[in-house]
Symmetry: D2
């Protein structure tokens, strides 16, 4: 029940338009653009280029939500169920990767 | 109630380990790696390099979930509430971007 | 003798400053940002978002040069010789990948 | 005379094949993939995931050359002269950005 809302919100918003979803490569390019904006904010906030504190806190989380929006578009356009994929990823964590990192004593 | 579960699942899994979250730049590098894997799958499935149909359908959605997992780590490590950010993004869609794309007649 | 000039130009420019090169993860984040800007321009020029022709032709090649500049910084900061790496890549093409793509008759 | 050789090497290699260059969005996706591989190596070498020293030194520079190869493909396919773009970027450094960073005393 987690990522269903993301996909539904995206579907409702995009359903208003003539071209509901771009082509996969076009959405991917948009994903790169959004990821690049997150990278810029991380360099501002935690790297060599400083900005004002107040401004950044909002930007960083918004860039993350923009990436999720873009993934929502890609998922909807390809009929992918992100909740199912999420279950598989968490399952892989608890099985395949369970010995990958050093555990607390 | 949408992205809360993603953040909670990530928190539960990572809380087992000595180093719960990497540094922001390190998580960002991981995000690039995961985004690159999605790009490779999109070129396989919709671009010039063909793979078997069965294999790809799963890979593509799993790569998307891996990106969301990495964003969950970044969000948790920075105390970002993704649901709040999501609401801001959807709000921006309906306000700022409402005239940006050609609407259905 | 090809990429030497890129590395030398970058070295000359950066040698003026107190902090000559950022840390590898910081340069990598900058590379993501520049790659994202190239992605945006490609979506403008060849994708769903149209801009003016004149403006784009310049932008696209400049974004590519910005990526090369960022790689020049990373290479210099890590004492990497890009010409040597280039020779290895071309060598790999002619050996490992020589049967990878369909040849002209 | 710097990046001309890169573009010429790429042209010679690709001219053997039926499809000499992919579409811009497809080359961009490849660029993401290669950038992601560089990110993975940087996390291995300078981040939380350690690998053997010997192995990494080579990988990192090769990933950088792979990115340059991909840019060479994009430039050739779009008739971009990277040397001209490079001159513009260096020119921008010495003019627009000349006061951007703290100079040595």
């Amino acid at each position: 029940m987690s990522l269903k809302k993301v996909q539904k919100d995206v579907e409702e918003w995009t359903s208003q338009f003539n071209v509901q979803y771009w082509q996969p490569h076009e959405i991917l390019a948009r994903l790169m653009e959004e990821t690049g904006e997150l990278a810029r904010e991380i360099n501002h906030k935690y790297g060599p280029k400083k900005k004002k504190e107040s401004e950044d806190a909002k930007d960083l989380s918004d860039e993350m939500a923009d990436i999720i929006f873009t993934l929502g578009c890609l998922a909807n356009s390809l009929n992918v169920d992100l909740d199912e994929a999420w279950e598989r990823v968490m399952d892989k964590c608890y099985k395949r990767d369970s010995q990958r990192y050093e555990r607390k004593k």
